[in-house]
């Protein structure tokens, strides 16, 4: 399997994502510079977290206009799986690959901590390694993770099973306290209509070993790699 990690000026989880993918794939992904207009042949495109272009103007806005993203959007439309984490999720909504937008956290502050996530739909490729209704733990670390979409879009997302993860309590309850950023419907991650693009605010790549405090992220990547191979 081959994977490509997109690197923008200001990306800062690119290495973390590379390490996580390499651990599960047994080989390094390609690191692709934002200014390139060609993607190498790849089975998975991963857009990492960080502060592309400093998150100036709007998080993800400038990166969404970079040459490589035109290519990513094309490949996604053609069915290549895309995993967009944190800033990557913001970039994906800015390109229109995913609906909605990510606003400033309701609490106004950057928030970095582990959160519990309820698996809310079955997408064999991305979360087939988890049970529907299972609660997993990934960390969040963002300032603009407050998911917004208009009512119609939101209803459609829910109805079509496009909501991937919701912030939840340890027992899976969807409470306001479990929601770190004010996201509508506690949404932490969504799929596009075709189900080949996943955007999520939490960082599975940060919990990939006991040493780091947990392995739910490892399970996520192991399954993703297996399902693509």
């Amino acid at each position: 399997m081959k994977a490509a990690v997109i690197v923008f000026p200001g990306s800062n989880c690119d290495r973390d994502l590379k390490v996580a993918l390499a651990q599960s794939m047994g080989r390094d992904p390609d690191m692709v510079w934002h200014g390139d207009s060609q993607l190498p042949p790849t089975d998975l495109i991963a857009i990492p977290g960080g502060f592309s272009y400093g998150d100036y103007l709007r998080a993800g806005a400038m990166a969404a206009n970079s040459p490589i993203m035109r290519e990513v959007v094309k490949k996604a439309a053609a069915g290549t799986p895309v995993l967009a984490i944190c800033n990557g999720f913001q970039v994906a909504t800015e390109t229109g690959m995913l609906p909605g937008a990510l606003l400033r956290n309701a609490g106004q502050k950057f928030v970095c901590r582990d959160v519990n996530l309820l698996i809310t739909s079955q997408n064999e490729r991305f979360v087939g390694g988890f049970e529907l209704g299972e609660v997993v733990r990934f960390p969040v670390a963002h300032h603009d993770g407050n998911y917004f979409a208009d009512t119609d879009t939101l209803e459609e997302l829910e109805a079509e099973g496009q909501v991937a993860f919701k912030y939840a309590g340890a027992d899976g309850e969807l409470t306001a306290e479990a929601n770190p950023n004010g996201s509508l419907n506690n949404i932490a991650g969504i799929y596009n209509k075709a189900g080949n693009v996943l955007g999520l605010m939490p960082h599975p790549e940060r919990l990939i070993s006991e040493e780091l405090g947990g392995t739910d992220g490892r399970r996520f990547f192991d399954h993703l790699v297996n399902s693509i191979v």
């Binding site: 200001g10 290495r15 400093g54 106004q108 502050k109």
Partner: protein, 735 residues
């Protein structure tokens, strides 16, 4: 041409004597640009004129020290061809004026110091001191400073893994914001600042130069400026995105061998960077200021040389390597400009529009920098306060609850949750423990990092307080199982021209020196911040210590959390019952009095070495040193971290409140599996080390037989609740 009057000299902060010395060195009257350069070079900040004599007495060497104080940051060997590079720096005044930008640019500055030397920053720390919690400005300052640190550090993608935070009225008008960065480099790829090679190009990279932070000189220069626009901002705005690019570009260039010398432009910008590079290399430098990338029009040489614009670096390259370097910086969309060359004249010659605008001798200027032996008086020592001298509380449990919810002990989670403390994927111990533990990427070893200082001890007894700061840092590292290697410091004091303040400085240095020697824990870098006063009241003396240690194998690491039902809780060390300067006295009795607890460095060394050896043998399941709030607070913190209670019995001749709340030094609470206790005791006995069994872990209460029983829930509520409650009040909104 501006005439140099007495007033102008005074506005530049130069004394009459200093100006006479300047005239002697130069052999003529300086022009305004030259005067500005002198004023900066001879400022307290750059010349260390009040502190140098005493700083020199600190131990700075050990076999593992690769580079001690004097460079941008200190360097230690951490094995396998790798080095840890670190330093701490203050940004106190700017953070008080504009908390967000002041703190942010402080973080940016300290990171540049570290990556200038070739290291990738891997961890940030911050040591913060605010005024009393109910001071009208405190909330605003806390929220702004924390947001600033978060804004800059998070964007850089360097985890902020710990720090310390105190609140005290002595900081009401003068907060302290000390930031520390730790980086990792290969020992054969460390970069220094001494310029060399006559004819080599001097290169400017990074952001453009604007009229940022042209400090005390502002008024003077405004007067001589024809287009007097609006009053110039003295606050710099940080651009973490540009710094992130600068970091990546510098590291990319450093992977080649094109760089001869490199120096960041920090305080005093182009002036101090160019002078330091020339002085260290014993060479001259010629700069053409027309080539300096500028953000604004009509900047004068004075402004260009004194600007404190951020995110800039100065380098000397090998001849002919300019284009290669330019390509890298342009790829990262940064300015790159050859602005001069190294010469053999020993002079700094600046030209602009074909004219020489300054011509100064480098070495004489540096050598003639003032150095003062300021008068000082010893701080009078207060009498110790013993347990018997302090009334027993009505209820020991309520006393512990009050301490756990006090400003000094309450959880700092509200702060560290705003910091990305996990990015880079190597944070093994997150904030909340004794020391943060950050893995060396791609290896099984790790660095343990802490910052410590107990200002109320330093105020009561500088010598003891200075020693305690170093000892606590050493203990916090030891409690993780790591071997402490070296420290950086940030010496925050009041006005050194007052003999009492100078006495605090001298005392703290003496204490630190003693501790560094006793613990093999040398000082490899640091920073001095004086004149932290408002209306003649100085801050508590605050020699913040940042310590770094090495864990050779992550398999042998402990945390402070209670682990498993049935584990045995032990006290390593003796309870002394010294109540002077304790938080108990302050929070329960409302007194800030007495001598701080004794620091016995021989015991520190012996007990700590024992603990580390036991951790290495795998006999210890949790460890936490005793500090603020004493044994009672240490136990409560361990129980909360593990979410398990304990049933304990404390045998002692001391009054219970003294046993629980005296801030005994050289002591730890540890836990072990029941089967390992005999072994632990055996090793302790052999070395004559006091080790007492306190009881067993289990259930959901902290129970100390006959003294108190408190549910963890109640402890957690007060401990977790205090800071968020404080910050929910008005004044804490963020931009």
């Amino acid at each position: 041409m501006t005439e140099i009057t007495k007033e102008i000299v005074a506005e530049h902060g130069l004394s009459e004597d200093e100006y006479q010395e300047l005239l002697r060195v130069l052999g003529r009257v300086p022009n305004l640009t030259e005067l500005g350069i002198f004023s900066v070079m001879w400022s307290e900040h750059c010349s260390y004129k009040s502190s140098k004599k005493w700083l020199k007495t600190l131990p700075t060497s050990a076999p593992w020290v690769i580079c001690g104080p004097g460079e941008n940051a200190g360097v230690i060997d951490i094995g396998d061809g790798q080095a840890a590079i670190f330093k701490m720096e203050s940004h106190n005044h700017p953070s008080y004026i504009e908390p967000y930008q002041g703190a942010a640019t402080g973080v940016g500055g300290i990171m540049r110091d570290v990556f200038t030397m070739g290291a990738r920053p891997v961890a940030n720390m911050n040591a913060l001191r605010f005024g009393r919690p109910d001071h009208p400005k405190t909330r605003h300052l806390v929220s702004g400073v924390v947001a600033g640190i978060s804004g800059y550090g998070n964007c850089m993608g360097v985890p902020t893994v710990g720090g310390e935070t105190n609140f005290h009225s002595s900081y009401d008008g003068n907060i302290l914001v000390n930031a520390m960065t730790v980086g990792i480099a290969d020992t054969d790829k460390i970069f220094y600042s001494a310029a060399a090679g006559v004819g080599n190009p001097v290169v400017y990279v990074g952001s453009k130069t604007g009229r940022d932070g042209i400090h005390g000189a502002t008024m003077a220069s405004a007067e001589f400026d024809d287009d007097s626009e609006e009053k110039r901002p003295t606050v710099q705005v940080g651009d973490p995105f540009t710094e992130k690019l600068l970091l990546e570009a510098c590291l990319e260039l450093m992977a080649t061998d094109a760089i001869v010398a490199i120096q960041d432009m920090g305080a005093a910008g182009l002036t101090s960077s160019s002078f330091e590079m020339a002085d260290k290399g014993g060479v001259g430098i010629e700069l053409n200021l027309d080539q300096v990338p500028m953000r604004e029009e009509g900047m004068t040489p004075y402004e260009i040389m004194l600007s404190e614009s951020q995110e800039r670096m100065l380098m000397v390259l090998k001849p002919g390597r300019e284009e290669e370097a330019r390509r890298i910086f342009e790829k990262w969309e940064l300015d790159f400009s050859v602005i001069g060359k190294v010469t053999d004249t020993g002079r700094m010659v600046l030209t602009m529009q074909g004219e020489t605008v300054a011509d100064l001798p480098v070495a004489p200027l540096a050598d003639a920098a003032p150095e003062y032996d300021r008068p000082w008086v010893k701080t009078p020592i207060q009498a110790p306060i013993r347990g018997e001298d302090v009334a027993a509380p009505n209820d020991l449990g309520e006393a512990l609850i009050k301490l756990m919810g006090s400003s000094e002990i309450a959880s700092r989670k509200w702060i560290w949750e705003q910091y990305d403390h996990m990015v880079m994927g190597d944070t093994i111990q997150r904030p909340g423990g004794d020391a943060a533990v950050v893995r060396v990427h791609g290896t099984g070893k790790a660095l343990a990092i802490t910052t410590d200082c107990t200002p109320r001890y330093c105020f009561a007894d500088p010598v003891t307080g200075g020693a305690q700061a170093v000892a606590e840092a050493w203990r916090n590292i030891t409690a993780t199982g790591a071997l402490p290697l070296a420290i950086t410091d940030c010496m925050n004091f009041g006005n050194p021209q007052r003999p009492e303040i100078m006495g605090q400085f001298v005392g703290c240095i003496e204490g630190m020196k003693n501790a560094c020697l006793a613990l093999d824990f040398p000082v490899i870098s640091g920073n001095v911040s004086l004149y932290n006063e408002t209306n003649g009241t100085g801050i508590h003396p605050t020699p913040a210590v940042g310590g770094v240690g090495i864990l050779k194998d992550l398999a042998h690491m402990t945390t402070l959390a209670f682990k498993e039902d049935g584990d045995i809780v032990l006290l390593l060390g003796d309870l002394t019952g010294e109540m002077g300067q304790s938080l108990y006295l302050r929070e329960i009795e409302g007194r800030e009095e007495g001598a701080p607890p004794t620091v016995d460095l021989a015991k520190e060394r012996k007990y700590g070495d024992y603990l580390r050896a036991m951790i290495e043998k795998g006999l210890v399941t949790a460890a936490h040193d005793i500090s603020d709030g004493g044994l009672g607070v240490a136990l409560a913190e361990m129980a909360l971290a593990g979410n398990i209670g304990a049933e304990l019995e404390i045998e002692t001749d001391l009054p219970p409140h003294a046993a629980l709340f005296a801030e005994t030094q050289a002591a730890y609470v540890i836990t072990a599996k029941p089967d390992d206790v005999e072994m632990l005791r055996g090793f302790a006995l052999a070395d004559d080390i006091p080790l007492h069994i306190l009881g067993t872990i289990g259930h959901t209460d902290l129970k100390i037989g006959g003294w108190l029983t408190i549910s963890l829930g109640r402890l957690r509520d007060v401990h977790a609740g205090w800071l968020p409650e404080l910050m929910a009040g008005p004044g804490s909104e963020q931009e």
